[in-house]
Amino acid sequence: MIGATGPDPGRNSVPHSIDAAFTALPLRALADAALARARALGSDHADFRLERVRSASWRLRDAKPSGGSDSTDLGYAVRVVHGGSWGFASGVDLTMDGAAKVASQAVAMAKLSARVIKAAGSDERVELADEPVHADKTWISAYDVNPFEVPDAEKSALLADWSARLLAADGVAHVDASLLAVHENKFYADTAGTVTTQQRVRIHPQLTAVAVDAATGGFDSMRTIAPPAGRGWEYLTGTGWDWNAELEGIPDLLAEKMRAPSVRAGRYDLVVDPSNLWLTIHESIGHATELDRALGYEAAYAGTSFATFDQLGTLTYGSSIMNVTGDRTAEHGLATIGYDDEGVEAQSWDLVKDGTLAGYQLDRRIAKLTGLGRSNGCAYADSPGHVPVQRMANVSLRPDPGGLSTEDLIGGVERGIYVVGDRSWSIDMQRHNFQFTGQRFFRIENGRLAGQLRDVAYQATTTDFWGSMEKVGGPQTYVLGGAFNCGKAQPGQVAAVSHGCPSALFRDVNILNTTQEAGR
């Protein structure tokens, strides 16, 4: 049911070492002190996680620096299963006594939980799915140049140059530019003997050109569609994305968008570009196949899922050409890891197979609770101050190996819309009803693009939408999209995740006119 395949945890595009400043920290000693205290206090399981997460942003407004930051979050967490209850605590005091004290606090929190559970008359006990011991493993993501080793002046100069190119074009009134970069190190150790040390790098450049029609008060924008990536600085210098080509095209696209007619609301065939479809996948498949949600553990906040556990293997999710994988091994994926935050090795597995719900995303507790066997490695915490929760793998729609190009998909549409780039997104708490907009909407007439449209949003129900997918594009259309800021859990956590997909053709989808929706 969960077709797990093992990764090659050691692979790299360029060999790197774990940052020496991180490995110089007293990782083992702190872990030993914490785990020993947890054992001594009678914990059934304990894990220790020390993280250093460096996040930086550079922002320009009309080619001038408008703010930036460079933050490093360093600390550690101890999580225990004690007396059948979870306990969690975190701290920043990098001494053996400090680590032991945090372990004691975690045990105290477990005891507090046990009291509440007892008062409620519950007999629920936390148990974890088995996982092989991974002793002394290291893993580093695939990147060439650590963005934090590039001088800030070089970063700002490149963003300023790109901004200036856009500002020089007719019709561009303003340009906002930003670059986000993260360098994440994690050390994990548990009482079973697993010890992992990992390093990941991710980056997200983005530029938005704004046009203003002062006379009418109208304005609109056109943003780059380059996705964030699990890559280094090389992503801005020609590896993985053609920035020159994208920037060159934006002013004309924006000018055309300002002149474009407003869409007539109704039903249309859609060819959805990967730059838009990744977000629809994220919201309507990625979150819906998180088993903790389906079981109710996010019910009060992020919500539940229509894809309930009793429908595993039977729910018709979409058309028979729909195949979706959960994958923590994809090269340059934002959710790609060697081992998750419970020491589980990264895997790849089916979520939707031939249109039917075939699997879920799991952590060790949920895997044990539901009898699904081994966890598929979806536990993640975004900081040392947060408890690991079940977070999204890279969830991707498989292309058709012999599938059509985007142009040929468009060629099969008599009256429709080609949707490019993401903009707004919203979906209900069980992942049924969604509404998305985009950066660019092109009218399709008799198999050809016929100029842009404005004010477009598509609105559908998840299973209707995926059931209307008539064609999946070929590998030549496949792009790994994604985001840095997927939110879940309380206290709130953000995770970075990628979604690969080809272009795809959907028939008879409801299109709204957003101006009419605003009552104008």
């Binding site: 408008s66 605590a89 920043v92 105290a108 919203s426 209900d428």
Partner: protein, 462 residues
């Protein structure tokens, strides 16, 4: 180093500075939380941390540049490298567009040299047993409880090379309770903000939710369309917060927000509502106290690191239904010719009404009563059209009585338009904005009656 007092760290960092200007912000953070699902605790935690932010400013021929570097868990060995990193970032960068002289003339906080305020699991000593009792009552009553209780305290110390020595303690607590029927076909929600958990009782909220689940025993299906709708205070808060995000004076002057005026300029002075609405922020509002001075860890569209320590006055954003003020930093105030109006730490909407939500229900011939809004996102910045969904209970009111529960809806609406169409504002009360409660909790809002709220489509979600 972790046992060193925060003010000493601030002073030491300032001593180490060799830049033309320096701002040091020490945030001492502690938190405790409980989370539950299906009448049982699921996760919990306590945290303790310190983040030090150093902002170095360097004067040059073309202006002043700034460098901002933050580190958590700073040790004595880290302090000088941290200051140098900020200085290096400033020297490597171009001049900052928002550069201003550092703020001066603010009297020092009398408690600047005191240790930080802290929270711990002790904040739940009375609450946790009451929560267990609520679980037991819910179980006996055929309800499942889901939710989250969070308490955090941040003590912020600001020192600057211009002489400021300021400190602010910000407690922040939230309680969210969601009750469901065992088949999960009925759902109800309530939330509260609190400074210390002495004024919230989960058994009282559970009792409120039991009533709402009772209302939901009768199901009524309604199609998409425009309905007279009562927006409760939590929903109004979520919409007003989003509206304030779009209230940058600079963006408005540049012609790229809903508050831009066709032909140029802003909509300041324009009547937004026929109701006598006042939307304001006040750092000293009772129960909603927020920082009385600017705390800016980085610059952005509505904040400037150069403004750290600047007094945050009580501000009316909408007065008597008229747009009165847009947000500015000192820099954007100069650019736009507007008064300096730093961003908001709380939001209070007053419409002059005195009816409770229950009294507004009683005065409704036929309409929808919402519980809250969810997944609110911007569709069109020109109109500030937002989309989102109703959640955890939409009730049909007929002849002043709730007669059953209606399916959920997706809405497409602009808060600015809603203010113009609102026909009644109820009594202002403290509320927890549900959508944005993970970062913004200090709000007081009235319920609003909207004659024609746009329910764009039906949502099957429960």
């Amino acid at each position: 180093m972790s046992r060193t007092k925060p003010h000493e760290i601030v002073e030491r960092a300032l001593e180490l500075s060799t830049a033309d200007g320096c701002v040091v912000i020490a945030d001492e953070e502690s938190s405790a939380n409980l989370r539950w699902a299906g009448n049982a605790l699921t996760t919990n935690g306590v945290t303790r941390g310190r983040t030090l932010t150093v902002i170095a400013t360097v004067d040059g021929k073309e202006g002043t540049a700034s460098g901002v570097v933050s580190r958590s868990a700073v040790t004595a060995a880290d302090l000088e490298p941290l200051v140098r990193a900020a200085e290096e970032a400033a020297r490597a960068g171009a001049s900052a567009e928002d550069a201003q002289p550092l703020v001066t003339g603010v009297p020092a906080s009398t408690d600047f040299t005191e240790g930080p305020a802290e929270t711990s699991s002790a904040v739940f000593e009375r609450f946790a047993p009451a929560l267990g009792e609520a679980f037991a009552r819910a179980r006996a009553g055929g309800r499942e409880l889901y939710g989250f209780a969070n308490h955090e305290l941040v003590s912020t110390y600001i020192g600057t090379s211009a002489g400021l020595r300021l400190r602010h303690d910000q407690p922040n607590g939230t309680l969210e309770l969601n009750a469901k029927s065992p088949d999960r076909l009925r759902s109800a929600w309530a939330g509260r903000s609190t400074r210390d958990f002495t004024d919230v009782d989960p058994t009282v909220l559970d009792a409120e939710l039991a009533v709402r689940l009772g209302w939901a025993e009768r199901k009524i299906e309604l199609p998409a369309g425009r309905y007279e709708t009562l927006l409760p205070p939590t929903a109004v808060a979520d919409l007003m917060i989003y509206q304030m995000w779009s209230a940058s004076a600079r963006d408005a002057v540049e012609g790229r927000t809903v508050f831009s005026k066709p032909g140029g300029g802003t909509r300041l002075g324009e009547k937004l509502s026929e109701l006598p609405l006042t939307l304001r922020s006040d750092p000293n509002a009772p129960g909603l106290e927020s920082a009385p001075f600017v705390i800016a860890h980085s610059s952005g569209d509505d904040a400037s690191v150069f403004d750290n320590g600047l007094a945050v006055p009580a501000t009316e954003w909408i007065s008597g239904g008229e747009l009165a003020r847009l947000t500015t930093t000192r820099h954007s105030a100069e650019l736009t010719g507007q008064p300096v109006s730093p961003g908001f730490g709380n939001l209070i909407l007053d419409g002059g009404g005195d009816r409770s939500l229950e009294e507004m229900v009683a005065a409704t011939e036929r309409g929808l009563l919402l519980t809250c809004l969810w997944y609110i996102r911007e569709v069109d910045p020109a109109t500030l059209l937002l989309t989102g969904l109703t959640r955890d209970g939409v009730y049909l009111v007929e002849n002043g009585q709730v007669v059953g529960e209606v399916n959920n809806f997706r809405f497409n609406e602009s808060p600015v338009d809603l203010l113009s169409r609102a026909s009644e504002a109820g009594r202002t009360e403290q509320t927890l904005p549900r959508e944005w409660s993970d970062w913004f909790t200090r709000a007081a809002m009235p319920a609003l009656r909207i004659p024609d709220f746009n329910m764009s489509s039906v949502s099957k979600g429960v």
